[in-house]
Assembly symmetry: C2
Homo-oligomer: 201 residues x 2
């Protein structure tokens, strides 16, 4: 039995749910209400000491950190593999998962904060857009040499970036994908997947 303690709008929860959908797994989503800060409740903190979502419960085995959860699910569950078997493609996938964590999610979340707090600070918006543009250029080069981040097949590397591109689009920064030929082609492709439509719909 698989339970995800998370929120359908959270980027990190979406990575986990997309992975579960791709694996064809059944799961139960227990919503943690971020509006009432339920992620900081003692009940949730007992599962996740950093007070964020999601947490996976797989037959009593509890795990947090979305990037660890998706790697675990891909290894533990049956279904199509979301990890390239070729060692260099595997390395590229890992490189881009790390790039997402180091350079892409942070600036995206900064833009979300700016959009929420009344009048956005133009300087902060510009700085974070510049960081995202630089990383998107790196992604553009990779997607010019391979169909997906990890090579010829869809992988955890693609899933890592998807919730952030969706959020950027919602915040009015969709040009970060659409102004780049390969990223744009990739985003049109991956966002049409059944897994993603189910998770983000």
């Amino acid at each position: 039995m698989i339970t995800v303690h998370g929120n359908p709008h959270s980027t990190c929860t979406r990575k986990v749910l997309t992975t579960l959908e791709e694996k064809g797994a059944k799961y139960d989503l227990r919503v943690v209400d971020l509006a009432t800060k339920q992620q900081k409740s003692s009940e949730h903190l007992a599962r996740q000491p950093f007070g964020v979502v999601p947490v996976l419960d797989h037959d009593g085995f509890e795990l947090y950190e979305s990037r660890a959860i998706v790697r675990y699910l891909d290894r533990a569950l049956p279904g199509v593999s979301l990890t390239p078997s070729d060692v260099r493609d595997y390395a590229r996938m890992e490189q881009f998962i790390s790039i997402e964590q180091s350079y892409f999610s942070g600036p995206t979340i900064q833009l979300l904060y700016q959009a929420r707090g009344g009048q956005p600070d133009a300087k902060i918006v510009d700085e974070n857009r510049a960081k995202l543009a630089h990383t998107a250029d790196v992604l553009e080069r990779r997607l010019g040499e391979a169909k997906y981040v990890g090579g010829a097949s869809f992988s955890l590397g693609d899933i890592s970036f998807m919730p952030y591109f969706a959020l950027l689009e919602r915040l009015g920064h969709g040009d970060i994908a659409s102004s780049r030929k390969n990223v744009s082609r990739w985003w049109t492709d991956v966002s049409a997947r059944e897994s993603w439509k189910k998770v983000s719909g």
Copy 2:
């Protein structure tokens, strides 16, 4: 042939070199001089577009992001495996690699900046020490149930944290390890490994 473009004092370079030593691999370290900002030179930026170290060159295959490099090396090279074969231990290892990247390296580097810039700002020091203490408590619980981060055997999860604990010690924050029973026992153990002594010596 393995070349690492990095710096012997850089935490991320040290993760890669420790992994190479553990695997018993021969390699050539090409020093990138951080004092003269060689990491921002056009030659280095062509290899690493974010202008940091290290970059691996394995028979012409170039890869950056230390956390991707160590996973790649463990898979690509012969020698002892640094990844648990049990899927739940593997999951814990990945959880802690992600915890390091999300919650431990950042505050450690903030303390390094404070130590460098003349009079440290006590408020910034306190804030970052509190963050590190919280993460060290999480590590303390894990190391109370297992000898190493990933279970019974030494893994990439341990290597991920080692350069930061060494740096904290050098900056006068060694109590973050020494004040916690299990973390202290673990740090005494892992810092005595031949690989680490060679890399940090």
